[in-house]
Amino acid sequence: MEPKKTPLYDRQVALGGRPVEFAGFSMPIEFTGVVDEHLSVRREVGIFDVSHMGEISVSGDNALDYVERLTTNQATGLDPFQAQYTLMLNDDGGVIDDLLVYRRKFDYLLVVNAANTRRALTWVTGHAPADVRIDNLSDETGLIALQGPRAKDVMRQVCGDDNVLGLEPFRSMGATIGDAPCLVSRTGYTGEDGFEIYINASSTGDVWDILMGAEPRPKPCGLGARDTLRLEMAFRLHGSDMDESTTPLEAGLGWTVKLDKGDFYGRDALIRQKESGIPRKIVGLRSDAKRFARRGSKVRSGGEEIGEVTSGGFSPSLECGIALAYVGSKFAKRSTDFKIDVRGQLVDAKYEKGPFYKKPEN
């Protein structure tokens, strides 16, 4: 099947991005280089085409009840236009996807990973009660992420409504950029301040052009920098660091699971796993070796194999190797003597809790 093109495809190619196929879309890995793009986001501002993400609308009188059934976090109590990070599980407690849920005026908007849009849509549609309406808005929705400490300076210039600058994290509002009505959200996947801007697909190019005309000019960023930025924050990537055979308890995402909120898909399985014990857990590993652990590298300790790296590579901010790995639960602690087998060489690694990258105090 021919990969899909986002509304910004031609602009990405004109900017020098060489598209590759990713999650059924033709998207560039890099423009000026992963490190350059990465550091621009940490220091100034970068711009990402993330229009490949899927958007699913859940509406109707019982939409909230259904969202509570579908997701692990508690959607009840979200303010209008508040967003929440949450998970969608199968009946075994496996992660179908991680997603953002927005409470909007007339619906709840689920923003899912591009690679999982079809699967999530099938799941959401398949379980929907008769009085809940499901609409797939993915093709008609463009999404631009503006990320970095100077993202707000860009927004100040392009957005008629200064209230967007006062948005708290995980809050969103309707606003206009150029002539285009947008949903502007204080969210992102980089660990920096920034905005995600949802736009009708037909206006996405216009909004991109306006953002690119700001001062400082946002640095176009590809999938490569998106991956290194999220890995420095130890954000899990669905499809790499978790999938339908991984539970949130294994993936270190127990904080998104509200077992006492009432029933939801996967809840019983999680309760069972809590009782019987969590067999493996995700850990962050950091190494100064000149060989970087990559996905698939085996993790060892005391001469035995204890797990496997699911994401790994070079951290442009820290200039060392970083990785996420699953290991047997009893090894998931600071005192474990971690070694990673990187192409036949055992390299030392240190356990790291939370984000690898911590923002410098200024």
């Binding site: 890995i29 890099e30 280089g33 992963v34 490190v35 350059d36 490569g224 290194t228 000149k290 060989r291 970087f292 990559r294 590579g313 070079f314 442009p316 192409r343």
Partner: protein, 125 residues
């Protein structure tokens, strides 16, 4: 950027012949594809290398890649500048970014390498 006076492998290494010595590096096309290079591992002087076998690795941000030797022989010199600062591969892939010098064992292996015109065809440049 594909110099006319070099030979090329289909794995994107170049060879410059100087008597019995082959100077080996990676092409501009290769370094562009690799993107940001963080570390390079090269063999030490005296190592025997085989045509088409790996003689080292390149750790780039995007991925790790093997370096394949275009020609058999013994390593007589290693460019320490490249291991100290791989940025030189990007700025000067055919000059300061050379990697190793090999005393060739089978000079006829050169015949199986591509000339500049064939390499241009391969990379579409």
């Amino acid at each position: 950027m594909i110099p006319d006076d070099l030979r090329y492998s289909d794995k994107h290494e170049w060879v410059k012949v100087d008597g019995d010595i082959a100077i080996v590096g990676i092409t501009d096309y290769a370094q562009t594809q690799l993107g940001d290079i963080v570390y390079v591992e090269l063999p030490s002087v005296g190592t025997k290398v085989e045509a088409a076998a790996s003689f080292g690795t390149i750790e780039a941000v995007k991925a790790v890649s093997d370096l394949y030797c275009p020609i058999s022989g013994e390593v007589t010199e290693v460019n320490d500048n490249v291991t100290a600062d791989p940025a030189v591969i990007k700025s000067s892939p055919y000059g300061g970014g050379w990697m190793i010098k090999i005393k060739m064992e089978k000079k006829d292996e050169l015949d199986s390498l591509l000339n500049a015109e064939k390499y241009r065809e391969l990379t579409g440049e």
